[in-house]
């Protein structure tokens, strides 16, 4: 009883402390989201007042081939880069968790690429992917001559551009590796000792001890990766301008073009709301599925 009274009396003081966030939330987040919902029901070119058109933008969206293309490209890129990124970073974390001489050195090296600012990574990889002079085709040239094929043009070839960008994204997984490593260090050693006494091999230990114990970390990384990949914009904007032939034209790129290149703010807002619902749905699916495969200790 007394506690509730204190907590009620503390309301003004609590709100005072969190007031910066409340104000920022109202003006820079809640208001834009509501405006976005309203604009999505309007014809609005930023110069004249918005004109209410009902569900017109959403109706148009269903028949818009570019919308479906951008969505397909984004999902394809996500389907390649998310599993590749999560898998490679987990493998790297397990490797870097082995007790060897020079372990801190190896960890630092693997982490370094994730520090590279996006624009520098974009420029660097454009050069690495260069068909004639790039390092990648040069390194693979013995393989090409063995198979009697020509090296691909990577990001300059429609069928190759999305796999190329996914490959490049794997280079920057250092952040995720660090999060996995923190998870691996928290797995109690007794569990491995017990498994060893029971005669479990290394692979069995991985499957029955390591993976279940770090499943919350895998889950966290999965959710973060999904939220990030739905928004991918910088890299294709810098490296391919969505090309060639719109083969790397992603969802956020189309949203950006509608808002700021074509000044179709109404349509851009409809795209924005679909994107928001997509993120919510994907995280929702992740949370729902997590009940089946994520193991929380002490629960």
């Amino acid at each position: 009883m007394r506690r509730i009274a204190i907590e009620t009396r503390n309301i003004p003081k609590g709100l005072a402390f969190i007031s910066p966030w409340l104000a920022g939330f109202a003006v820079f987040l809640l208001l834009p989201i509501i405006m976005s919902l309203y604009y999505s029901l309007c014809d609005y070119n930023l110069l004249q007042r918005p004109v209410f058109v009902g569900l017109e933008n959403y109706r148009f969206l269903i028949h818009d081939a570019v919308f479906w293309l951008a969505l397909k490209n984004t999902l394809y890129y996500g389907a390649l880069s998310v599993p590749a990124g999560l898998g490679v970073s987990l493998a790297l974390a397990i490797l870097l968790n082995r007790r060897v001489i020079g372990q801190p050195f190896f960890r630092t090296i693997i982490f370094l690429p994730s520090l590279v600012p996006t624009i520098a990574a974009a420029i660097l990889w454009k050069w690495l992917f260069n068909q004639k002079l790039g390092l990648i085709n040069w390194a693979l040239s013995p393989l090409y001559s063995l198979l009697h094929v020509q090296g691909p043009a990577w990001i300059d070839q429609p069928g190759w551009v999305i796999p190329s960008l996914a490959l490049m994204s794997v280079w920057g997984v250092g952040n995720t590796v660090v999060i996995y490593l923190a998870g691996l260090q928290d797995v109690p050693r007794e569990l491995y000792e017990a498994a060893e006494l029971d005669g479990a091999s290394g692979l069995k230990q991985l499957y029955h001890v390591t993976l279940p114990m770090i499943s919350p970390v895998i889950f966290f990384n999965l959710v973060m990766a999904v939220i990030t990949v739905v928004q991918v914009f910088d890299i294709p904007f810098m490296m391919t301008q969505g090309g060639p032939n719109r083969a790397s034209y992603f969802y956020t790129y189309y949203l950006y073009d509608n808002a700021f290149s074509y000044l179709h703010m109404g349509y851009a807002s409809a795209l924005a709301w679909i994107q928001l619902l997509m993120v919510l749905a994907l995280t929702g699916i992740a949370f729902w599925s997590s009940k089946k495969w994520v193991y929380y200790q002490g629960k």
Partner: protein, 293 residues
């Protein structure tokens, strides 16, 4: 994993794997530095050589490619760096202070509705920036017309929102604040300290490690941010490093790969220096973000 029974061949395999993956991680860097030092004709040579035959320098002894990357018809590295640092400094200061204040409210003041509001803070992390960037543009124009301050054409759209706390930083700092013993605040309270005084004189000095994580990550974010500057900066004189280099690399004509690599080296270098100065802060910071799912 298994300390004593690791046999010789497993150890060899581990080292081999480590050397392979570390090479793959590091070779692009070496290639970047190598290209950045080559004169034009060597850049175009095939098969490529790892070491430049000869490095051209200007009369100050600076490699020509670097001099051109810093200042030429298409580049203005000093201006871009200055602009980036202004945005970064104001963002770091703003988000660290405001997030700490809000985090203190969530960590130390028991008030009704606290749990619900904190849940709301966390859930905002899911909202994609592209969803709000258009309406924010409209809001910034409106603010420019209806307040005494200009917004568009200034850096305000990039740093002012940082002064209202960011969900991720609030979360990170709250997690740290709850680990600080309540007795310390209680002692200060008995000495007549106000709540704000406890926050400022007791909490903040004890939270240096967490505050530096927030400051460091915010700086890195500002250093690499691209979409914000792309949408809200209007004049080339305002360009940040990301935006300036983007215009440089997307210009028409033959691509000056050596100058572009020099520019990339220059953008990466400060981040690497920062990393090696504060390695521990980095790693612990990233590790804690993944700890509480």
């Amino acid at each position: 994993m298994s300390g004593k029974r690791t046999n010789f061949w497993a150890l060899i395999a581990t080292y081999a794997a480590l050397i392979v993956v570390c090479s793959l991680a590091v070779i692009p860097f070496l290639w970047m530095v190598s290209t950045s030092l080559k004169p034009d004709r060597e850049v175009m040579a095939y098969p490529p050589r790892w070491l430049p035959r000869h490095i051209e320098t200007n009369r100050h002894g600076i490699p020509t490619n670097y001099a051109l990357a810093i200042s030429s018809d298409h580049t203005n590295f000093r201006l871009w760096t200055r602009n980036t640092l202004i945005v970064a400094a104001l963002s770091v200061l703003g988000t660290t202070l405001s997030s700490a204040l809000v985090a203190y409210g969530f960590a130390r003041i028991r008030f009704r509705g606290r749990g619900l509001l904190f849940g709301l803070v966390l859930s905002t992390m899911m909202i994609p920036f592209p969803v709000i960037m258009g309406p924010l543009f409209v809001i910034f124009i409106w603010l420019g017309r209806h307040t005494p301050f200009d917004w568009m054409g200034t850096f305000k759209p990039l740093w002012v929102p940082q002064w209202f706390g960011s969900a991720f930083n609030i979360f990170l700092l709250r997690q740290f604040f709850v680990t600080i013993p309540e007795e310390l605040s209680e002692a200060a309270r008995i000495d007549g300290c106000t709540e704000l005084g406890i926050f400022w004189r007791v909490m903040l000095p004890l939270s240096r490690p967490a505050l530096s994580v927030v400051a460091l990550f915010t700086f890195l974010w500002a250093w690499r941010d691209f979409m914000g500057p792309l949408v809200y900066l209007q004049y080339p004189s305002q360009y940040t490093l990301s935006l300036g280099l983007q215009t440089f690399q997307s210009q028409n004509g033959a691509t000056p790969w050596n100058q572009l690599m020099a520019a990339s080296v220059l953008v990466i270098l400060p981040v690497l220096v920062l990393f090696f100065m504060a390695q521990k802060t980095f790693i612990e910071g990233i590790a804690t973000t993944g700890m509480k799912g």
